[in-house]
Symmetry: C2
Subunit: 262 residues, 2 copies
């Protein structure tokens, strides 16, 4: 029953919950900050990284999995991946489109898998990471991707306008019920925070503070980039109201009328 | 991302969600009935098995994991495990206490692991099963246990008056919030059904019909043993009311007041 990624030999793992929500008016990304190298070694690390030249482009990466790996992928991308054909050093910030930026993120993951994979395998540690990658480049669409540890990725579509990585199960039911393409941008943020509340109540490996990013479609800039601290009044109020509403909700449902069969 | 237990070479797996709730007035056990050998081969199998001599004893086993394994464990126990010291064939139905019955279940799991383990390992199939085991023998307490695939087990206590096996995460938040030791027995059943609703909405591998058992403390008999079919009016109504109440709940929470930092 031990968490597979909490291998203290390999430093901090991100048990993590991150979600990205892509609605008509924009993009919301939320990430927790808890990492652990065993249950007795818990720290705060930022997992939501924003790259922006306001008005021109904004990109955000949220990460889950082994912290050493996810940080290395971002460091590789910051230094740039050499394109063997053009000689160019390719980064996120000079990518011409969001799709090509996602491909570069995938290439960085695969490069790291080649250099680190066998050492990890020898130590019986899984090459375990995933990313949400969202944003917009001027002239391109606002897009949201989920990257797998094989470097492949899927894109968020209208049918299911959210993607999750990490501890996604606890917080999925409320997203399934409440989020649609037409959902207001700040309602999407609110429902995302409720999804985090459910996750943090049930799973200690996901914890405050939370980092949130809101990007309005076609702004190519952050409308909101904010860290929610544990004592933050709105979030405390949201948690209390949600708890009370759930209590009222199940209280209002009649008890089962079942009688013994036959 | 493929479900580990959906190995069609090895027949049906129980992706399953089962929960047991032990409150002041009694015990509730709920199990789904979906099994799958790959996503293209889905069947209905009963996973909640009740053994009773009303007024004397009632025991119920809910199972998750590889169906071939969980069925074999129950068949072993029905035939009885020979006690090398007394020569007695030990079953659930002749166990003197619930604790000793749980030990017998554990012995059956370990016996199966010895006979099946190496063949499974050779086929790269995990020895994957778990049980909830609850009930009461006259003169003994009403108890609820969770059995692991190693044959060891834990017991439900007042602090967290429920146990889950299988796809437990989606349905855990509502249990965490709504169930306490003092919760009414049929409210516990109701909240358990809400927990199943959340799970079935998010995970196709858990499905109707549901089997439920309600045992009132010291009755040593089933007060309710019932199968909830998909078209059953109360459960449909519960699902609709819960959906509407959740919608109202998140609508009633104000939108986040956050403004851009700095």
């Amino acid at each position: 029953m031990a968490p597979e990624t909490a291998d203290s030999c390999w430093g901090h793992a991100e048990m993590t919950y991150c979600c990205g929500i892509l609605v008509r008016d924009g993009l919301v990304m939320i990430a927790d900050t808890r990492t652990n190298a065993g249950l007795d070694n818990i720290s705060v690390f930022r997992k939501l990284h924003v790259f922006t030249k306001p008005g021109e482009r904004i990109m955000a990466v949220a990460s889950a999995g082994n912290l050493a790996l996810t940080q290395s992928v971002l460091s590789l991308l910051n230094e740039g991946l050499e394109n063997p054909e053009t000689g160019e050093r390719e980064t996120l910030i000079n990518a011409p489109t969001m799709f090509q930026a996602a491909q570069r993120l995938g290439r960085a993951i695969r490069l790291l898998a080649r250099t680190e994979g066998s050492a990890l395998q020898a130590a019986d540690v899984k090459f375990d990471l995933s990313f949400l990658f969202g944003g917009q480049i001027k002239g391109d669409r606002l897009r949201l991707f989920m990257m797998y540890s094989a470097g492949n990725f899927i894109e968020c579509t209208r049918d299911t306008p959210y993607l999750q990585i990490g501890e996604h199960k606890y917080g999925k039911p409320v997203l399934d019920r409440a989020i649609g393409h037409e959902t207001d941008l700040y309602d999407a943020l609110k429902v995302g925070l409720i999804s985090f509340d459910s996750t943090m109540r049930s799973n200690l490996s996901v914890g405050m503070p939370l980092d949130v990013l809101v990007v309005r479609r076609d702004d190519c800039a952050a409308e909101l980039s904010h860290r929610i601290e544990p004592d933050e009044p709105y979030f405390q109020d949201l948690r209390q109201r949600w708890s009370m509403a759930l209590r009222a909700a199940h209280t209002s449902i009649p008890r089962p009328p079942y009688r013994q069969d036959g």
